[in-house]
């Protein structure tokens, strides 16, 4: 198997940790190339979930009994694990949310409430709908101005436009670390430093990042960072919003309820400290614990080696795809993660996706929640294949031969 000899990174051992990879789909061995949508889960995460419900289940934070205290410890330990892995200043800067979308909405709602008419929020033309619509809603609520950094034909950000877009009215820049559709890695360090020059805060949508490359929050110096548990080998329905302590402290609560208060009276209610101020109600306890386990799983690996393996997959697949007649790959940059969006001639991406599925290859087709980006390229959608650490060159070969067979039928 070609994937075996990749490098010290042991693909065989990695694959053994993901039980779903032995599944059959439509009678064929599953080739899972839809990792940008969601990742598969290692046994350590799956076992933690069932063991929690078998042995530890209790509500957290206020119970005096042992079960509740154990559950609280496990949940808070997860927060600590995540905080350490991402190199945050302290775990109080790590807020559990439902996912990236929820994290961005939290900032749009809470930080957004402190903005005034005429203030500007900057996003980019390649953003996921979840980093567009919350700002449009804020625009309607607060009469702020939403500005968009354009992209070049390659799919890369037009960095030359930034100097004319950023100004003293810019209060927040909210931008994807990595494009979910194109896989392009944006120069966020440069963007963060330029935005800070104007006193603007920066929110990084990291939904496509933590699973692929090292993220060092102190080094990045971003003000907010959002990502989802389910894309980083953790459970669904859990995500993280990181925020710098002083900014989170200045922000009003997002939702009201239990856990987020210090004291409630009809005269005056006082709020709990961060991160709890932003975590109203019984949280997704097992989600948090499971995400902690997923990050522990990442800690057992060398993320640079993961990155190297995925880069090899990317280059291998791009070369093979480019040999196919009529192939157009959208998003061309030297800074890319293992996401490839493409179309073949005038064949509709839905047709290719349907036939690949019947051959056991799971890909995604459509606009990938980036309709403005599809408009930019003037296409109805793309076929998107996205790799994770457990994918192999052998699977790419299978995908390419299935793709060729599909094209033959569809032409």
């Amino acid at each position: 198997m070609s994937g075996l000899s990749d490098n010290v990174f042991n693909i065989k051992e990695i694959r053994l940790q993901f039980p779903i990879l032995t599944q059959k789909v439509n009678g064929k061995s599953l080739v899972y190339f839809d990792n940008a949508a969601t990742s598969q889960k290692p046994s350590s995460v799956i076992d933690a979930i069932s063991s929690y419900y078998e042995k530890e289940n209790a509500n957290i934070h206020r119970g005096v009994h042992s079960l509740s205290q154990n559950a609280t410890n496990a949940y808070e330990q997860a927060r600590k694990t995540i905080s350490t892995y991402l190199n945050a200043e302290s775990e109080s800067e790590i807020i559990f949310t439902k996912g990236t979308t929820d994290s961005i909405n939290l900032v749009a709602s809470s930080f957004g409430s402190m903005l005034n008419e005429g203030d500007e929020v900057v996003i980019s033309a390649m953003e996921h709908h979840s980093n567009i619509v919350p700002w449009q809603l804020l625009e309607a609520r607060k009469n702020i101005k939403l500005r968009v950094i354009p992209i070049l034909k390659s799919g890369e950000l037009d960095m030359s436009s930034i100097d004319t877009i950023f100004n003293s009215k810019t209060k927040l820049v909210s931008i994807a670390h990595i494009s979910n559709t194109l896989g392009i890695i944006n120069p966020i360090k440069e963007i963060i430093s330029k935005a800070h020059h104007f006193g603007a805060k920066v929110l990084i949508d990291g939904a496509q990042s933590v699973q692929h490359l090292p993220v060092n929050l102190k080094d990045l110096d971003c003000d907010f960072y959002a990502f989802s548990g389910h894309k980083v080998f953790g459970p669904t329905g859990i995500g993280i919003l990181y925020g710098k302590k002083e900014i989170l402290n200045a922000m009003p609560p997002y939702q009201g309820g239990g856990d987020m208060i210090k004291r409630v009276s009809f005269e005056k209610t006082t709020f709990n400290e961060i991160p709890f101020k932003f975590e109203a109600g019984t949280p997704n306890i097992i989600g948090g614990i499971g995400l902690g386990k997923a990050i522990e799983f990442l800690e057992t690996l060398n993320i640079e080696e993961v990155q190297k393996h995925e880069e090899e997959l990317l280059l291998y697949a791009q070369n093979k795809l480019n040999e196919i007649d009529g192939m157009t790959i959208f998003g061309n940059s030297h800074q890319k993660t293992s996401v490839i969006s493409f179309n073949v001639g005038s064949i509709h991406p839905f047709d290719i996706g349907t036939l690949l599925d019947k051959q056991g290859i799971a890909v995604r087709t459509g606009h990938h929640c980036t309709q403005p980006l599809m408009e930019f390229f003037n296409i109805p959608g793309t076929v998107r294949i996205s790799f994770s650490m457990y994918n192999t060159k052998e699977e790419i070969d299978l995908c390419i031969s299935s793709l060729k067979k599909s094209i033959q039928i569809l032409q």
């Binding site: 439509n26 509709h348 991406p349 839905f350 047709d351 349907t354 036939l355 019947k358 051959q359 087709t365 459509g366 109805p380 959608g381 067979k405 039928i409 569809l410």
Partner: protein, 137 residues
């Protein structure tokens, strides 16, 4: 002239001939090529069926108390799937189109396309056909 049920049974028999899904889809694609297309100049925004990943247009004509459907799509599998529906629905009374059960979808294994969020919007196509028929009752 086959009945509504007989037409569906004929499709089920046709699909039984194929051993694997690729064969079935090749057949679906062929059916899409036989479809009565909507003339380009008659294509209107309101004929578009929402909820499909591909664009699907559907229009109907009502003649001699019978329904006739015309459609188009930019995805050829979608076009084939709607061609199957048209094969069954064409020439039926509006009452039949609205009320009768489309059991062939389940039988030939296309039910996976029936969930409301499924990208090709088969459910939306059926709904639109029934709504068109309802206008003539």
């Amino acid at each position: 002239m086959m009945s509504f049920k007989e037409k569906q049974n004929a499709i089920i028999e046709d699909f039984d001939l194929f051993e694997d899904w690729m064969g079935k889809y090749e057949y679906i694609i062929e059916l899409g090529k036989e479809i009565d297309l909507i003339p380009e100049k008659e294509k209107k925004e309101e004929q578009l069926i929402h909820g499909c990943q591909s664009r699907v247009w559907l229009m109907s004509r009502f003649r001699d108390n019978k329904m006739y459907f015309y459609a188009d799509s930019d995805a050829i599998i979608t076009k084939g799937i709607i061609a199957l529906l048209i094969k069954v629905m064409n020439g039926e009374s509006p009452e039949t189109v609205v009320k009768e059960d489309l059991f062939f979808i389940q039988e030939i294994g296309l039910q996976e396309h029936l969930s409301p969020t499924r990208a090709n919007g088969l459910l939306e196509m059926v709904k639109k056909m029934k709504l068109e028929a309802l206008k003539n009752i």
